[in-house]
Symmetry: C2
Subunit: 225 residues, 2 copies
Amino acid sequence: MPVDSNASVRISAFNWVPPFAQGHVRDLRPRWAFEEAGISYAVRKLDATTGRPAEYYEEQPFGQVPSYHDEAVSLFESGAIVLHIGRDCDTLLPRDAAARARATAWLIAALNSIEPYVMQLATIDIFAAGEEWTKQRRPQVVELIGQRLSRLADALGDKTYLDGDAFTAGDLMMTSVLRSLESKDLLERHPNLMAYKMRCEARPAFRAALAAQIADFEKREGLSG
Amino acid sequence: MPVDSNASVRISAFNWVPPFAQGHVRDLRPRWAFEEAGISYAVRKLDATTGRPAEYYEEQPFGQVPSYHDEAVSLFESGAIVLHIGRDCDTLLPRDAAARARATAWLIAALNSIEPYVMQLATIDIFAAGEEWTKQRRPQVVELIGQRLSRLADALGDKTYLDGDAFTAGDLMMTSVLRSLESKDLLERHPNLMAYKMRCEARPAFRAALAAQIADFEKREGLSG
């Protein structure tokens, strides 16, 4: 695993999150990209249960995780960080300009056409659970996600990855977003999407990234994970 | 204006939308990028009031506007299209690798950290107006947007643009997203953000792009715009 406290590249992550979020925090995305690209990285751990240090907002304007820092640039937004990590990695961003542009299109589709609805469902099911408004709104959001997934399943068809035979940064991001729909009976309606997600998650780079995120969480007494 | 029906580059747009949406359809984003880059483009007009032609889903998996097509690549997602248009335009994406990465970070911040909440407010105020759930949910969404805008205003500070003195694709996208908050009494709480948005909208390239979108709408009898 390329986690190396002496690496010149550093991302931020949380030192602990509740069990439901473990394996789903967004630093998983750059971790996965680092593994695909074979780049070592260090981790700055933040406490998720307290406010961020004031200076953290200088590297991540919204106080979120992850941020990214190397000798040349400080960045934020997991999508931009993955694109930056992938700039010299043919797997993540193919040399061919058209294929590279399509990989970027799928990455942004995950972030702007799928994730906003997935996050609405997470709000309803977790953060606002039990609030009266969620009863009327939830079926609408489920319907919206269902429509998007049907289109995505059509676009994938019987291809191995979204752009064909080769895994790219677009698949990394789409899989990262689809993972938040586990056990919602939405992905399960599309066998090709389920198989696609599992195919991406079976990559050694993903497994290593997931293990690295989990390994960075501290044990908390009386709490699983 | 670089709209040219013989151009080898083509985007899709709608032939008409209701007045509240005119000047806000997402093809405005690539139009603005084309104007900044000095690239001529053609427009494929779609009917927003009927379903999309079946073949359109092959170029835009979710059936949305805009799609992009040139001699080498077909693309979708306004963010990916703007990045592709900007690849050889120093204004949109600076040559310096670090500045280019930061421009990309702001572009994705607009799409993933601001727009999802802005779209929730648009759903509440327009598409789901009057539904019972919106009464409880609206103040929460307003609060979320307020928090994000406060952070954005802090990050902008007294700079001219998000990354300093030079306008980039990040400002193009952030301004495009912030425009949907007009008259919501949210942007207005941050004089620096208001001035920033107006500064970006004053660019000749934005004015030309806006005029081109409006010019492409057909007149409809009995309806303004």
